[in-house]
């Protein structure tokens, strides 16, 4: 029943350093048991891609990644014939065998260059297929993708239909650059990851940067939370930026936040000039220090 499986999954993910709430665990568990792709949305740096990597470690299997970008096509995502190798074979065998035999040989699986999608469905073991930043692909490719994700089989004209040996654990991530089609969304279990609350962020920091100590980690989490909710930033600091910030403060031997050490490490948190200037405002710096030392 769900309770046991869910608890096991959550514990296993935590053992692999991924701290998550029940909401996230329920959704991931559901994707796994229903064998449906998991579509994860959220701001950059909240741990979307990490879910696939963690699942790979939890199930001790390979993570096959397809990084999406505009212009990505089937040749680069699914398969391509090894054209150069085929040409060489033609040259070598030119006078040695009959034309029909050669043609048969040339379109064999050994001349097939398997790209991530084909590799994932033809694997001997159930793998994790990470389709990263799916919102970057063009619409026709998205349509192709959701056909593949519903049937898990591929038609190659020269070879016929290749079905999945094992249905992979599919994780799709999106930064919300473009709204995905209803068809794709309908085939997936959906998860939105928001920025964590202070307690969860402290837990993440404690797991990833334990050497920073609880006091510094708590202050970092409170400060980042304060920035996200009180400043009108162009890019809010993500979890990965909190981790970098904690590490940087640790490198400066800080055991708590001060106006000086926040000013010295601004560029770890803020990634554009306007945001940095906002943070460096003396009033804002004072408020942050006051807030983290007196959270009530």
């Amino acid at each position: 029943m769900m309770n046991t499986g869910l608890r096991d999954l959550k514990n296993a993910m935590e053992r692999q350093g991924y701290i998550c709430g029940d909401d996230l665990a329920v959704t991931v568990y559901l994707a796994l048991t229903l064998k449906k792709p998991l579509l994860v949305e959220g701001a950059p740096g909240v741990g979307k891609t990490e879910i696939a990597k963690v699942l790979g470690r939890v199930f001790e299997t390979e993570v096959i990644r397809l990084q999406c970008y505009e212009g990505l096509d089937e040749n680069k995502a699914l398969y391509e014939w090894n054209y150069q190798r085929q040409l060489l074979k033609i040259q070598i065998m030119k006078d040695k065998c009959r034309q029909e035999d050669m043609e048969k040989d040339l379109f064999d699986e050994e001349y097939l260059l398997k790209r991530p999608l084909l590799k994932a469905i033809r694997s001997d073991k159930r793998v994790v297929l990470l389709i990263d930043e799916v919102d970057k692909v063009d619409e026709p490719f998205e349509a192709f993708l959701f056909e593949l994700l519903s049937d898990f089989q591929v038609s190659i004209p020269e070879l016929g239909t290749l079905s999945a040996r094992h249905i992979p654990i599919v994780v799709l991530t999106s930064n919300g650059d473009r709204e995905l089609s209803d068809g794709l969304k309908r085939r997936c279990v959906y998860l939105y990851i928001d920025y964590p609350d202070i307690e969860k962020e402290v837990k993440i920091l404690q797991t990833k940067v334990p050497e920073a100590g609880e006091r510094l980690n708590r202050e970092v989490a409170a400060a980042v939370n304060y920035l996200r909710s009180n400043l009108d930033l162009r890019k809010q600091p993500s979890i990965s930026e909190s981790l970098d910030w904690a590490r940087a403060l640790l490198a400066l031997n800080a055991d708590g936040l001060t106006i000086e050490n926040i000013s010295a490490t601004t560029n770890l948190l803020m990634k554009n000039r306007e945001d940095s200037l906002q943070l460096l405002d003396p009033g804002v710096l004072r408020d942050i220090v006051k807030h983290v030392t007196n959270p009530s």
Binding site: A31, T33, E41, E70, Q84, R186, Y190, Y192, D232
Partner: protein
């Protein structure tokens, strides 16, 4: 077949009573649909299937399972949360809500009766012979009951004064005065209510089922808690002064994001479309002419140029400011935008924005210098000026944006000029600030829609969606 009907039939067939899971889940899916969440039948069935894996006694698990299957975006997840909390409640709470609803109805009835009595007392002296002469509708009586106390008194005073005027048919006169005055008040009250409604969830529709409608109305009214979300979905004209700075920073943020996406798109413009024979042969000379490495001919994608023609007549002035700011933000990705404003005639304002000044300062100068701000609209004259003086700015890469509510004189002649412009540019996109539900009542819109692609655009959310989805797809 209509999805709601299918759901309704499934709910009937699949349930022996109203307490089954199937019945409640299909009703819940129907509520979500009426709140603008796209829930298909397949997803409803997925949700039912997934529930069989969940511990039904755990509210959090049920919530998590349903959300994963039914909500497919951040906004939908927000609507889901609100609807879930209101729909899945204990029978006691449901009963309490029903009782509360009935009490409110009784109270409304009582107030209307009181209003009727109050009005009858005020006019009774006049209408002793014909007591039924003053017949007001329920909605008019309700309007009277909702009036501020001083307005009620004022209305009674007017009636009192009329007593001293000898007229032929006093009953009829009083009736007319009362009715028209109450209709006037009702119109104003409804207009304010409409603005309130627009501040909520715009896609919400009612079902006709009392229990479901209660959830829908409640979610729709309270959905936008976050001030940013509220501003995104509110009619730009109805923004209060306090919201302007928030709106400005939102526009800056969104236009910067969109500009970034657009500039990325044009950097990656080389796409392999066909084999370049000449290059391939040259490259493979060393292999004896066997084409081992292929070279491709790539098609260069030209960067589009935007041209904005913005209506700044009285009804459009506020929208124009925000939309121009948005386009100004996009200028960073597109190397400047040709901009024009018009009302009675057309004026070019591109130079104001090229002076590297802050947007607010540029805008203030335009308003001071322009003779068009706040006048009436004549698109025909404006387009004629455009065609005679600025036609050379058009090329097949130009996307022309027209921002207007289409309330202009001579729409047929203006449409003809638009056709000329269309032949010379890549695409014309009309951003109409009038709500789409009102388009049918405006004949000029029908005329222009034959010539251009028209999109409803009176909220920041619509502006962003239109530019992102429609425009980027077309260019």
């Amino acid at each position: 077949m209509d999805l709601d009907n299918v759901t309704a039939i499934l709910a009937e067939v699949g349930s022996t009573g109203k307490d089954t899971i199937e019945y409640n889940i299909t009703r819940f899916a129907q509520i979500l649909r009426h709140l603008g969440v796209r829930v298909s039948l397949a997803e409803t069935m997925d949700a039912l299937g997934a529930l069989s894996k969940a511990d039904l006694l755990s509210r959090d698990q049920v919530r998590g399972v349903l959300r994963a299957c039914l909500a497919k975006s951040r906004k939908e997840a927000g609507i889901f949360e609100e609807a879930f909390n209101l729909f899945f409640v204990t029978p006691e709470e449901k009963l309490a809500r029903q009782t509360n609803r009935r009490e409110m109805q009784t109270e409304r009835r009582r107030i209307i009766n009181e209003a009727q009595q109050e009005i009858m007392e005020a006019v009774s002296e006049w209408q002793q012979d014909e007591p039924d002469k003053t017949i007001l509708t329920e909605s008019q009586l309700e309007t009277f009951s909702l009036l501020p106390e001083e307005e009620k008194e004022r209305m009674k005073e007017i009636l009192e004064k009329m007593k001293s005027n000898p007229v032929n048919n006093p009953g009829e006169l009083i009736n007319r005065v009362l009715q028209s005055s109450l209709n006037y008040w009702r119109y104003h009250m409804m207009k304010n209510a409409e603005m309130e409604k627009n501040a909520g969830l715009p896609d919400a529709r009612l079902t006709g089922d009392e229990e479901m409608d209660e959830v829908i109305q409640s979610v729709a009214a309270h959905f936008y808690h976050n001030p940013g979300d509220r501003i995104m979905h509110r009619d730009m004209e109805s923004l209060e002064d306090g919201d302007i700075s928030r709106m400005t920073s939102l526009i800056n943020y969104i236009s910067a994001q969109l500009a970034l996406g657009m500039s990325r798109r044009y950097k990656k413009s080389s796409r392999a479309v066909s084999v370049d024979i000449r290059r391939t042969l040259r490259r493979n000379m060393r292999y004896g002419g066997i084409p081992i490495n292929l070279s491709y001919r790539s098609k260069r994608k030209k960067r589009p140029r935007f041209l904005l023609i913005c209506d700044v007549s009285a009804s459009m002035a506020r929208y124009a400011r925000f939309i121009m700011q948005f386009m100004y933000g996009l200028g960073s990705a597109l190397g400047g935008i040709e901009s024009f404003i018009f009302s009675e005639d057309l004026e070019r304002i591109t130079d104001y924005f090229n002076r590297k000044k802050d947007f607010t300062q540029s805008m203030a100068r335009i308003i001071n210098d322009s003779r068009q701000w706040g006048k009436s609209t004549n698109l025909y004259v404006s387009l004629a000026t455009f065609n005679s003086r600025y036609r050379k700015l058009l090329s097949p890469e130009t996307v022309v944006f027209i921002v207007s509510d289409a309330k202009t004189i001579s729409p047929e002649r203006a449409a003809k000029l638009l056709e000329d412009i269309k032949l010379r540019c890549g695409h014309i996109v009309w951003l109409n600030t009038l709500p789409a539900r009102e388009w049918a009542g405006h004949p000029p819109i029908k005329i222009f829609k034959k010539v251009v692609d028209m999109y409803e655009c009176n909220t920041l959310s619509q502006l962003e969606r239109t530019l992102r989805r429609q425009v980027m797809r077309n260019i």
